[in-house]
Homo-oligomer: 408 residues x 2
């Protein structure tokens, strides 16, 4: 339905401004079956007042029952079909550490692991979750493993046993399998090409792995640690998404405190605006750049973090914090405001979940419904009904008078 | 959206159990425009109490306005797109009589008919609806018509003028047209192949038909009855559906009193559990096998039968009967319970209909809605909104914590 080609054909340049606020992991559940969700329990006078002047509903990020990772959750918010367009793990890992990934780079998520040096089988896929400082030292050492055919190889620490590998140079291709067999008691797998043109890159990666593993084995024996090998997963390039400014004729600015969300926004063609660590900083950034963009992606991270911690009150507090700043945001007078999340993260579930997202769409041109608070149950009865994330930008564009009529 | 490939990628093994209760033909209509439906009129304290602890909605079996047969109605409940996956009439006919159809068998629905022996044109497509005992005798006689190229040919009576023909042997193919021209005054059509590899099977069937018709003509003349010929429809093999245990990583058990539903469950890869004739028998079967399966398909037939009879009170009584047994079912403590039907069969309509199905989804992790009774009108305002049958298993899997996150 939300067809990017249709958007490209119909999009109009206009003076209007659209603000998409993503409260990460916003959707919740009651801790007791008949209780309130985090959003329902939070004191949110400003969100409630806005909901009363908006149309509300529930939105599915990917498909019924599907729990989205942050990549698909955001791609669908930006209007990309999250089944058709996929950002692989390696690319997200590179974006997540703020690595300036270039088109053509091949990125992989790396894991240090333990192997039995006699038999070669994996004994621990996470090398006993080695501390981050050891992981960082091993990355520095592996960064010295370069190949003459590759312009540059980067090995960047992530956390504990996790790292990111990036190969930069001409002619690198993706379509490559993981080396992690996802079980112990078997040896790592070779990288294999799933299409002929990736064969040369598979060969390069296998050569790099052989050298890197030799370095790790020697270091592990010498220094007495468990990380004597490594594996690669989700090896991929920037997927080359069609860019939002071209599809929607919108100058797009992204405001997010975490690298991964800045990275996904960049893949979608947004300009990533420098900001600080707090929601206040983000609001300041919004004000500062208000004149320069037509569309703002405004991302609040900590709703998700508190949900993942199982911290119901903490998540509630982040929502309340945003609510207090909402009047400052609305003072910019956006023509269209959409507030939702990329996926649910109920504190009860302590992880991303499949539950629909409450969504609020405000503009002068909405048909208001009966919702006078912003919450899951109020949205269940909202005038938008049950929609899909990929429909949100088209709806936002329409309410901003930025879509031409379809057909005569 | 409900993509079996996606399910296959994301499905996880877990300890949780999912129960899918199908009250066949559940959806109804009021007999008077402003009255209650069968489900609304039935006294169902247990279903109502469960609805109050569940999320409810209305579900479309195939597509808006489409009245499903039992095949598509169940395939979509099991997560198969009922447009993409089709079980043909011949296969359903074989399953409906409890025939143990093997992969590779070719099955056809057969009709005895009357032809003018001078001109060969059909004069009655149903041979004057001959009695079942005559049909059975003719089947025994036709079963003696064997072909040397076919390992075995079965001719099984169904009812009155209807029979099932099954060819078993190597190299049989489907992709074959019906011989029934669907009108009188014209001769039967030959079986033709719709793809080259089915040509040999078409030739075999035409040869069998010629011999069978000769037998029938002689018998009809000798014994003085109208069934002097026959036609074949819906000639097909087991469609080779992807199997539910492989797609969903669920051990699937089916409990149904009627052969056709056991047959469709078997096509989907479920283990069909022996049971008796009553709902009580089915509940006993459920209890007995509770430990052995992760997913149960529990089918109640008579809601549909009474609907087809136009027997509003009778259908209500079947619903009430199930309601009384529901506490025994819930005592097994399934993690997820889904209760719905495969299609509507309003007593007012006396046939399958296209109306949406009331559906109830219970788990610890649902967002409860305002529905405190289980009925069409309550479900209209339920928190699931309007969903599709193919989305039900993905939702059940999610609530049972049996789906991995999609994307990083």
């Amino acid at each position: 339905m939300a067809d990017l080609e249709l958007m490209r054909r119909l999009a109009l340049e206009e003076e209007t401004k659209i603000l998409l606020v993503v409260l990460d992991g916003l959707g919740g559940l009651p801790m007791e079956p008949d209780g309130l969700t985090e959003l329902e329990a939070a004191r949110t006078p400003n969100l409630d007042a806005l909901a009363a002047r908006s149309i509300c509903g529930l939105s599915t990020a990917v498909a019924p029952g599907i729990t989205p990772g942050s990549g698909p959750g955001h791609l669908s918010l930006f209007g990309y079909d999250p089944i058709e367009y996929m950002v692989e793990r390696g690319v997200l890992a590179a974006l997540g550490i703020g690595f300036d990934l270039q088109p053509g780079d091949v990125a992989a998520r790396g894991n240090f692991c333990s192997v039995d040096t006699e038999t070669g089988v994996i004994t621990d896929r996470r090398a006993g979750r080695i501390p981050s400082d050891l992981g960082a030292r091993l990355c520095s050492k592996l960064a010295q493993v370069q190949l003459p055919e590759v312009e540059e190889i980067f090995v960047e620490p992530v956390k504990e046993y996790r790292f990111t590998l990036i190969l930069r140079g001409r002619g690198l291709e993706d379509g490559l399998t993981d080396t992690d067999p996802q079980e112990t008691g078997v040896p790592p797998l070779p990288v294999t090409a799933t299409r002929p043109r990736a064969e040369a890159t598979a060969e390069l990666l296998n050569r790099w792995l052989a050298e890197a593993r030799a370095v790790l084995e020697e270091d592990a024996e010498e220094k007495g640690h468990a990380a004597n090998s490594c594996n690669l997963r989700g090896i991929a390039k920037d997927p080359g998404l069609p860019k939002m400014p071209e599809i929607y004729k919108l100058r797009c600015g992204a405001i997010a405190t975490y690298p991964m969300y800045r990275g996904v926004a960049k893949l979608a063609g947004m300009v990533v605006l420098p900001t600080g660590e707090t929601i206040e900083d983000e609001v300041d950034t919004l004000k500062e750049h208000w004149a320069d963009y037509d569309f703002f992606f405004f991302h609040v991270k900590k709703t998700d973090s508190r949900g993942e911690d199982g911290d119901f009150n903490g998540k509630m507090a982040v929502i309340e914090h945003f609510d207090q700043l909402l009047p400052d945001v609305l003072a910019q007078e956006p023509d269209v405001v959409i507030i939702t999340g990329d996926h649910s993260t109920p504190a009860l579930w302590k992880a991303h979940s499949w539950h629909e997202l409450p969504v609020l769409l405000h503009s002068r041109y909405v048909r208001r419904d009966g919702a006078v608070t912003f919450g899951e149950r109020a949205c269940m009865e909202g005038g938008l009904g049950h929609i899909r994330h990929v429909d949100l930008i088209p709806l936002g564009m329409a309410h901003a008078n930025r879509l031409a009529k379809y057909g005569a």
